[in-house]
Symmetry: C2
């Protein structure tokens, strides 16, 4: 048992922050939280207590949509909309991952930066290459971080050197699953079924992946209703589907197992109902949706409808791997919706975005993202001294950290109870 | 004469970056740029050359709208729209500046952070307090940075302890003008006439400030058409004016001398024509306009109409004092307009926002913000080593710095030819 003492802040529900000044968290050797206390629990020896002084202790971040092989393009190439952006910038970069040495070099940097930014769990797109994707998974294992790692399925409407086959993807998934069953750090790193998006996958591949999901229970991630041109294209490609979401649904890739759908900028009507009925998660990617001129997703409507919403950076369409930025943009674009609707749509609050960045996304990994009893202890120790020069409350300190902080402020990182030191490869 | 060698990047026009790999800039002892060269100028002794190696050399940033006394609230209190935000959070903080000791303490931090973020010139709102505003001006002088410093006029619709009188403001302005004539670091720091906005100033104060502008030629700064409720309020307060801008114009505060108007989210029709006719500058504050749910200013339309557009952080409605962020948001909100208009409104490019953040705003201070011959040498040396691990072009390095960089990357800062070391008070 370890006991940590700090200014504890977390969001057990979207509507309210839980704040415990100089509180205590007891963590079992299994990494599970035993309890959280305002005063030092009785029968605790002071020698057991790790005291972080006046620092903040918050749940670590969970990034539910991020493209590892686009790391080189982060902060670049943001002058096009989705479909030309894919062809011009993204596919050529991803094709380089046919070379496992390139993958090793770049993925090391990517995983290192996720660590740096305090993102302890992620749902990640690799590329269509089986070996490179296994390398990515192994790096997460080495770093001690949690991740769902996706071997991307794509066999149409992309460059010849960036298409695989249904057989290749099924075989690769099966290999990855067996590999991570043994070497996945006790389930911290797992595979996820990852059709790129409807335009990249033939019906045959989609059906096979849906069948594989049904057989294995593995979760699914993909893209949905990001951009108007993309939606129109999907309608052409899948004339029998009633909406974009229905196209996934018809292949068993829409909530039949836990499913993440990134973007959903234009999800409404039947698609929205289907997501709700099937318990499909929205991954809100406000940075990306601004950078690629996709639009603003109707997050308030999703929340009001009881749809599960999580948050993602979506690099390199998102320009920054920090979940702090994702939180800022989530609030800000919701305010632009609020302005546009003349106040009819309430914007997101600070506690809501902290909830999205921690507990809402953490749910996909189990009991993760909160400091309640029974949760896995994923946490960040934040030293905001330079931001805290005046008389701020703890809530204000959190707000200033979210709006003004960066990787410099994160002093210690924990994933499932284990402190993660800087990955050195 | 000094000669600097580095990878030089600047934006002499909005449509194109000028990039000189390992180029040279010769700067006279007056701080004026003698010339810019691809090769070492003949007859130059190598001993004259200061070589920044592979670093980037770019023009320093100019922030054309920023509220110094709101520094404490930066990154905070962003859950309201403009008018309740002013009353709830901003006015109580500004009232504290009645105490010159408080002003001294806080303004030191503010000016220090402007330095840190590489903003060498600014147009700044102080408070309604004469002495505190003089203190702010003196700090800019001590730091060696350029600034237009505004004693704020406000004598209605604000708390009793935050109203001054026309006489007080005129006298304070005159004192500040005389003081800075002598002690303004050769014109680097100057006063600017600053009615807060129409709702805060009686017609009598507005008229007196307009007369003072005409008499002295001093420039003017204020707020315009930021938010729908504010615009409706101005229409009530100034029933004889045909638009918000016309209210300023009737008092001689709308381009009769050089004039900065922040926001202009809803400027159109007659107001737009008037700004164009009078050469009034728009200060685009996209961070602020998102954070206070104000809306998105029609910057592309302004540019197409030949209206002068500059950029501001507008803290603390803007949450960050970095002009990098202002540039990012300027592009991103223009992309959301692009999405909304289904592609009819072209979004801002990288060279356009660099131009806005450097030369467009620099014009307000003279020949500032470019590396052309005859310009004052305001510059930043950027070490982007950690962002430049792969094979990026110089343009890509600039783009990555704008999207991913921060104060850590700025290694040296120059204002009017003088290298500015960290202000230590």
């Amino acid at each position: 048992m370890k006991i940590y003492r700090a200014n504890i802040i977390y969001a057990p529900t979207p509507d309210k922050l839980e704040i415990i000044p100089h509180g205590y968290i007891a963590v079992r050797s299994s990494g599970i939280i035993q309890g959280i206390y305002k005063e030092k629990p009785e029968q605790t020896d002071w020698r057991q207590v790790v005291d972080f002084g006046d620092k903040l202790l918050i749940p670590a971040f969970n990034d539910l949509h991020v493209h590892a092989p686009q790391y080189r393009n982060m902060g670049l190439a943001l002058d096009l909309e989705l479909l030309p952006w894919l062809n011009t910038y993204t596919f050529p970069e991803e094709a380089k991952y046919a070379n496992p040495e390139y993958a090793q070099k770049m993925y090391r940097r990517f995983v290192h930066e996720l660590w740096m930014q305090g993102t302890m769990r992620s749902a990640v797109f690799g590329t269509m290459h089986s070996e490179s994707t296994r390398i990515l998974a192994d790096l997460f294992v080495q770093a001690g971080m949690g991740s769902y790692v996706g071997l991307v399925g794509m066999n149409r409407n992309s460059p010849d050197n960036l298409q695989n086959t249904t057989e290749y993807v099924l075989e690769g998934l099966e290999m990855l699953r067996n590999h991570l069953d043994k070497h996945g750090n006790n389930g911290l790193v797992k595979p996820i079924i990852t059709p790129r998006f409807i335009p990249s996958c033939t019906p045959e591949m989609l059906k096979a992946l849906g069948d594989y999901a049904a057989k294995t229970g593995l979760p699914v991630q993909s893209h949905l209703s990001e951009n108007r041109s993309e939606i129109a294209w999907v309608a052409e490609l899948e004339p029998e589907s009633t909406c974009y979401g229905d196209a996934y649904n018809r292949y068993g890739l829409f909530g039949q197992t836990p499913t993440l759908m990134a973007h959903c900028c234009y999800t409404d009507g039947e698609e929205l109902e289907l997501m709700k009925r099937n318990g499909v998660y929205v991954v809100h990617c406000p940075m990306s949706n601004s950078n690629l001129s996709s639009g603003i997703a109707p997050i308030r409507k999703f929340l009001e409808q009881g749809i599960k919403v999580t948050l993602g950076t979506d690099i390199s369409a998102g320009h920054n791997l920090s979940m702090l930025r994702a939180m800022q943009y989530a609030i800000q674009v919701s305010k632009l919706r609020y302005a546009e609707s003349r106040g009819a749509t309430r914007f997101l609050s600070l506690s809501e975005v902290l909830y999205l960045a921690t507990k809402a996304g953490g749910e996909f990994f189990g009991k993760v993202g909160s400091f309640e009893q029974g949760y896995e202890f994923d946490a960040l120790v934040i030293d905001d001294t330079y931001l805290n020069a005046f008389d701020y409350t703890l809530e204000q300190r959190l707000e200033r950290y979210i709006y003004l902080g960066d990787d410099r402020d994160i002093k210690r990182r924990f994933c499932r109870g284990v402190e993660l030191t800087e990955p050195v490869w």
